[in-house]
Subunit: 126 residues, 2 copies
DNA sequence: TCCCTTATTAGTAATCGTTACGATTATTAT
DNA sequence: ATAATAATCGTAACGATTACTAATAAGGGA
């Protein structure tokens, strides 16, 4: 009896491995480029499909920063992110501090602003 | 002498008025629908173009929540937002508190999670 | 007021990140 | 090994947003 509706494929395994090692929060296209050497016939759609499956499995998380591409993160623990408005790179902020001044003291990046978004169920839907 | 490179149009004025009154954080499409009565020949492209201009002028702000559409907010003061995972509505959170427990005490929505994104210039770009 | 410059518009095509489809291939249970 | 059916690749489609173009209109100056 198969508890898991998913099968194991080299492609999906490699995508997960890349995300577990790579801390740069790569996009689907970044991952596709990295895998092209090992999988010359890889389809970009395969990368997207497997990223969605891995998110559904709770093994990775998707990050959106309002930019054109979505970014993916192999670290599913709760942590904040820092985005450079110049080079657009996405960095981890180890600090869980809430005061922006205190967060600034824990990193060499120059923090200019912070956006907080809360998610849940609204009173109308409850 | 005209200091402003922009001219005044009924369309842009109406878009701004809607955003100043409407606290529901409407999408471009929402605004388009509301204006169709008064401007039957309105083009959706006109809405998008003027929203970008108003953002550039600092009169409104664009909000992205990883969903399909961007949302727009006539309130440019710093404030947090709450998104219902069920109905996808976007609400204001008046509270500036950082502790999620304290924020929960100020609203009737059921808060499940919070995402913080910091923006600035990274140490490599400095 | 009229004229002129040009920002703005409506309509439509294009862009582009992502998803869906369909025939073939690969995984896995029996 | 066989059968059932995920997964793959290649390609088409999707959808929110942007770009293009000819016509329109705002608004400054004569
Ligand atoms: Mn991260
Ligand atoms: Mn708001
Ligand atoms: Zn940078
Ligand atoms: Zn709701």
């Amino acid at each position: 009896m198969n508890e898991n509706k998913y099968r194991n494929t080299k492609q999906r395994e490699q995508i997960l491995n890349i995300l577990l090692k790579d801390k740069s929060h790569p996009t689907a296209s970044d991952i596709y480029d990295k895998m092209k050497v090992q999988f010359p016939d890889l389809s970009l759609g395969t990368v997207y499909r497997n990223l969605n499956i891995l998110v559904e499995q709770g093994k990775i998380q998707k990050l959106d920063f309002g930019s054109t591409y979505d970014h993916y993160d192999g670290n599913c623990c709760y942590h904040s992110h820092f985005v450079c408005r110049q080079c657009k790179k996405v960095y981890d902020l180890g600090c869980i501090e809430d005061d922006i001044e205190k967060v600034q003291q824990t990193t060499n990046h120059k923090i200019e602003s912070c956006l907080k978004k809360y998610y849940g169920v609204c009173e109308n839907c409850l």
